[in-house]
């Protein structure tokens, strides 16, 4: 009985999994990937939404990036923090950000947080959890401030305060003990900073600095490296000099010339 060649309907193709398992048995070690073992938080205060994130990206036990950006731009009034596989969070937020921009051109209106939410959850559910992105989405639109969490399998929650990532329990313990309704901007930022610091100092997957993003109606403040609680303790004041200078044997400078002459008023391009 011959097999019908059916084109894939969507999602990932797992054809190479058997090959990979065979290679692993033969001793080939698979490459590890960059994860953002992370602390990301969001909370709703009286005028809008505050998002916070740490800045450590890990590759297994090694810190691959000491100061990465985990608060991604979605729309002028919507930002999204991402935990999980770094490539997945980057790609999925970039993709939905462009979709939102096209939608804005189409409708002529400011993007709504539920639009970003629905686009993200549809995509993640479609890939059945294989796109490992756990997101905290926050923004202020015409209907008011919103804060949502989105899990890798596509489920969402709508909450007054939320935490995700490996440091989520440490951050959540601080939120549960100190959050109240109607926080002012300063109190909210302080609480977010406290929660991220709890993640940074109590979770091994989170570290380095604190990023904060405050979104209110018609205005946003992206505070990159708002707090640096882990400065380098010993820095050589002389800086670093390479031991031996490279010898210059020959110097030849070739200026780049214009090769193409632009003719004004030529024919239009062929379609």
């Amino acid at each position: 009985m011959s097999k019908l060649e059916v084109p894939p309907k969507g999602g990932f193709s797992f054809d190479l999994c058997r090959r990979n398992a065979m290679l692993e048995k033969k001793g080939h070690t698979p490459k590890s990937f960059l994860k953002t073992g992370t602390t990301i938080v969001g909370l709703i205060f009286q005028d809008g939404v505050i998002l916070g994130a740490d800045t450590r990206a890990t590759e297994g036990p090694i810190v691959a990036d000491k100061n990465c950006e985990k608060i991604h731009y979605m729309a002028p009034n919507i930002y999204c923090c991402g935990a999980g596989t770094a490539a997945d969070t980057e790609a999925v937020t970039d993709m939905v950000s462009s979709q939102l921009q096209l939608h804005r051109y189409h409708t002529g209106r400011e993007s709504r947080v539920v639009t970003a939410l629905t686009l993200l959850k549809k995509h993640l559910f479609n890939y059945q959890g294989y796109v490992q992105a756990a997101l905290v989405l926050g923004g202020v639109d015409v209907t008011g401030p919103h804060l949502h969490t989105i899990y890798p399998h596509g489920s969402t929650d709508s909450l007054p305060f939320a935490t995700m990532g490996s440091g989520s329990l440490a951050a959540m313990s601080l939120f549960e003990s100190k959050y109240k309704e109607g926080l002012t901007r300063d109190e909210g930022v302080q609480l977010v900073v406290d929660a991220i610091c709890a993640g940074i100092f109590n979770d091994l997957g989170s570290g380095s600095n604190v990023d904060v993003c405050v979104i209110t109606k018609g205005h946003k403040d992206y505070l990159r490296n708002h707090l640096l609680p882990n400065p380098r303790t010993y820095v050589n004041p002389k800086g670093f000099t390479f031991p031996k200078k490279t010898e210059v044997l020959l110097t030849k400078i070739t200026p780049l010339k214009e090769r193409v002459e632009v003719i004004e008023g030529g024919d239009a391009m062929e379609e």
Binding site: T156, S158, L159, P160, L169, S173, E176, A198, N202
Partner: protein, 232 residues
């Protein structure tokens, strides 16, 4: 012969207690635990006392398998009894009890038949405060504040932030209540029936159980899908 011995090893816990949280304060040690015993995912027993005084100078709190905790209490009973029989005016302090328990736990683990518990030991002897922890694989250490199980993830960050050397009794209780409240919100095997106990140089008291007040009136909880109809 080998097959008979195989069936006598502890493979999984059955009735388990959730976290214990403890801290050193000005006059001694304060320890808190809830009174729940879960049978898998059912909350089977709601009046289990998981904080027990041992001898004159020690307080023991346990999480994990309750039957193993009762066995440990029997061992310690015997230990304290033999110590009293010497009648030499000396009595076992918290450091000694901790050392004994570490040996017991580690030896059982080496025989692949562990006592499935995480134990918190606190006490005061001759003015010296002591707070330590032993778990089922024999890891033991002492610190100014300890927690078992999920308490390590939820309570330790709060304690690291807000503990200081000179807590009064009231401040210590407030801090423990804060930790137990977060555990009540976020640990599925927690029960709202908390016991706090304190031990000082003079005496050891296990206070009667009480329940914590919880707050559920956030406006976002009242209508969570106001902004996103269809989700939850």
């Amino acid at each position: 012969m080998a097959t008979v011995a195989e069936s006598e090893r502890t493979l999984y816990p059955y009735v388990t207690g959730s976290s214990v949280v403890a801290l050193k304060y000005k006059d001694g040690i304060l320890m808190a635990a809830d009174m729940g015993g879960s049978y898998g995912s059912t909350l089977r027993y709601k009046s289990i006392e998981r904080l027990k005084p041992v001898g004159k100078h020690t307080l023991l709190g346990a999480s994990g398998e309750i039957s193993d905790f009762q066995e440990i209490l029997r061992y310690l009973d015997e230990l304290i009894l033999y110590d009293n029989m010497w009648d030499d005016g000396n009595s076992l302090g918290p450091k000694e009890v901790h050392s004994y328990l570490t040996r017991v736990m580690y030896n059982r683990r080496n025989k692949f038949n562990p006592l499935w518990n995480s134990l918190v030991l606190g006490g005061v002897k001759n003015g010296q405060k002591y707070l330590g922890m032993v778990n089922m694989i024999g890891i033991n250490f002492e610190d100014n504040h300890v927690a078992t199980g999920l308490g390590n993830h939820l309570a330790r960050p709060i304690l690291r932030d807000e503990w200081n050397e000179n807590l009064t009794f009231e401040e210590g209780v407030k801090l423990l209540e804060k930790c137990m409240r977060v555990l009540l919100y976020r640990d599925r095997s927690a029960v709202n029936k908390i016991q706090i106990s304190k031990i000082t140089e003079e005496d050891c008291t296990v206070f009667p159980p009480f329940s914590l007040k919880t707050y559920w009136d956030f406006s976002a909880f009242k209508n969570p899908t106001a902004g996103a109809p269809g989700s939850w």
